[in-house]
Symmetry: C2
């Protein structure tokens, strides 16, 4: 199997690359290194089955010469900065929607037929049904991130139906684990490293969150890529049946760091405009394919804190970039 992973130097991308190489895929990783890190690919770069291409997929020619003989494109490249969408609305449109279109066009021209796309539970906006099934009533978009990912899903569906591709669309909850570089756990650990005495929480701390561990998510991607299926487009929610509050995950973090900070709260039921108080997905469809997550949320948070403590450079890099 010859696979291309876009966003290969990112959190999820680099973990997927490692796993595909273990599974004997030949892998071409593509990344513009805007938020990804060459260091995340250290292991992959030593593997003979791996090639890295530093390309910006917003350039429609970025994949020229890359897709020959490729069986499967795992399209993970994206602007994943959900919170800051309203500050730079062009980024979501360009990096999530137009880039996806560029990837689809390149696949069409090269005759590549299989695509896996990492979408988001944010496409459900403020879902009227929780846990939210894939066939939830048609939602209103509440974030540019969700809107741009939904747009990408639509393009992928239309290409799959129109040009005979097969697409797997994965609507994700938040993922954490090794190489995780943004989100609640990152922010909390970052704050507590510089000041273990007090911590400021966006919202009221009661926001519920459902986190999947990276090893489970990458496992789900490979599992679904191998699955026999008939339809042009299959959409799966990918999450766990568990959830925690922001406060509970903070408990685990404090425990792991062995600190007891005073907590202050910004208040309100959400962290920022467009934040969704609770993304919790109904994963019955995925479970029916005989897949289940193995890592609990608490264990996932713990593993993430360990990773961050062992790789403190990610704080420097990501604080500088943001």
């Amino acid at each position: 199997m010859r696979s291309v992973v876009t966003g290969a130097a990112g959190f999820i991308g680099s973990n997927l690359v490692d796993r595909l190489l273990e599974a004997k895929h030949e892998v071409v990783g593509v990344d513009n290194l805007s938020t990804g890190h060459r260091r995340f690919l250290e292991r992959a770069l030593e593997h003979p089955g791996f090639t890295f291409r530093e390309e910006d997929l917003f350039d429609p020619r970025a994949l020229d010469g890359v897709l020959g003989g490729v069986d499967h494109v795992f399209h993970l490249a994206a602007n994943a900065d959900v919170r800051e969408g309203l500050r730079h609305p062009r980024k979501d449109l360009e990096q999530n929607t137009i880039v996806t279109w560029n990837v689809l066009e390149a696949m069409r021209h090269a005759g590549v037929k299989r695509i896996t796309f990492t979408s988001t539970g944010s496409v459900y906006g403020e879902a009227p049904v929780i846990p939210t099934p894939e066939l939830c009533p048609f939602p209103v978009q509440t974030s540019l991130y969700g809107a741009s990912k939904l747009a990408a899903e639509g393009l992928i569906s239309a290409y799959a139906e129109g040009y005979g591709m097969r697409a797997t669309v994965l609507r994700l909850v938040s993922v954490l684990g090794q190489r995780y570089t943004h989100g609640h756990v990152f922010d909390f650990v970052h704050q507590l490293r510089s000041n273990p005495e007090s911590i400021h929480v966006l919202g009221d701390g009661k926001q519920r969150k459902s986190y999947l561990h990276i090893s489970d998510f990458v496992g789900a991607i490979l599992h679904l890529a191998r699955l026999e299926r008939s339809g042009a487009v299959e959409i799966y929610n990918v999450g766990t049946d568990e959830h925690v509050t922001v406060d509970e995950s903070l408990d685990v973090i404090c425990d792991e760091l062995n600190v007891k900070p005073r907590r202050t709260y910004a208040g309100g039921d959400r962290g920022w405009v467009g934040d969704n108080p609770f993304i919790f997905l109904d994963c019955t469809k995925l479970r029916a394919t005989r897949w289940a997550p193995r890592v609990s949320i608490r264990e996932g948070v713990r593993l993430t804190v360990s990773f961050l403590l062992e790789h403190p450079w990610v704080f420097d890099v990501h604080r500088k970039k943001s």
Copy 2:
């Protein structure tokens, strides 16, 4: 009221401009004249309340200086060529999705808060529920046109929620009437004018279609623009409770033209790849606002044939362009 109509020289746009001027709006019409016609604006151009701007909205600066003091943008500009999407996939992305983003950005910078957007029943793909309500289960896109319009809807929702705009999204069935320039009725009349002896029908003629008359649609736009409402985004299906088969609408056309052609059929249950065998919308939500269509489908087809016969130049222009 000061309004901007994008796609002002098109079929729906030019009819909306006329109606807004009658309702004493000051109107700026914007169109790149790629498929629209200056002739459709003949009456408007004589009106002191009307200004025309020939601009291509794919240029992000097209609306510079246009939106000052504007209360409401009616965003109708689009690539409406549903059938040919697979031949030039870039067109839908650019003209429907990116152009909508450009309009939203221009509105944000100018502080314009109201937008009405003409979307399409095609966003439901092959809907699992017919008649299809706005809260139909989340669909898979089957055409680039539908995908690009859904993407635009998502952007509009996210902008409305994020930047405090109010948006009205109208999911349309096919519209016909004066200045109609593409679709079944156009094709049939065109064929029968050159050869009244025989007619070739795409599909099996049993495809059901629901057509709204332009006067009803433009009436619905104005009715909804005046409505008191609270939410940032309101989505309405706009159609009739009637439907006809392609064969039945051909009966009306033949009757109006006074011809009795031999009919041949391409066969199959749809006209082209991505064609939807039946778009029929549940318009309960719109009806609850005390709006109802006045023109029956048969009457609408009849009025359309009359328009085409009185304005044969549209055949020359639209055949040349396509």
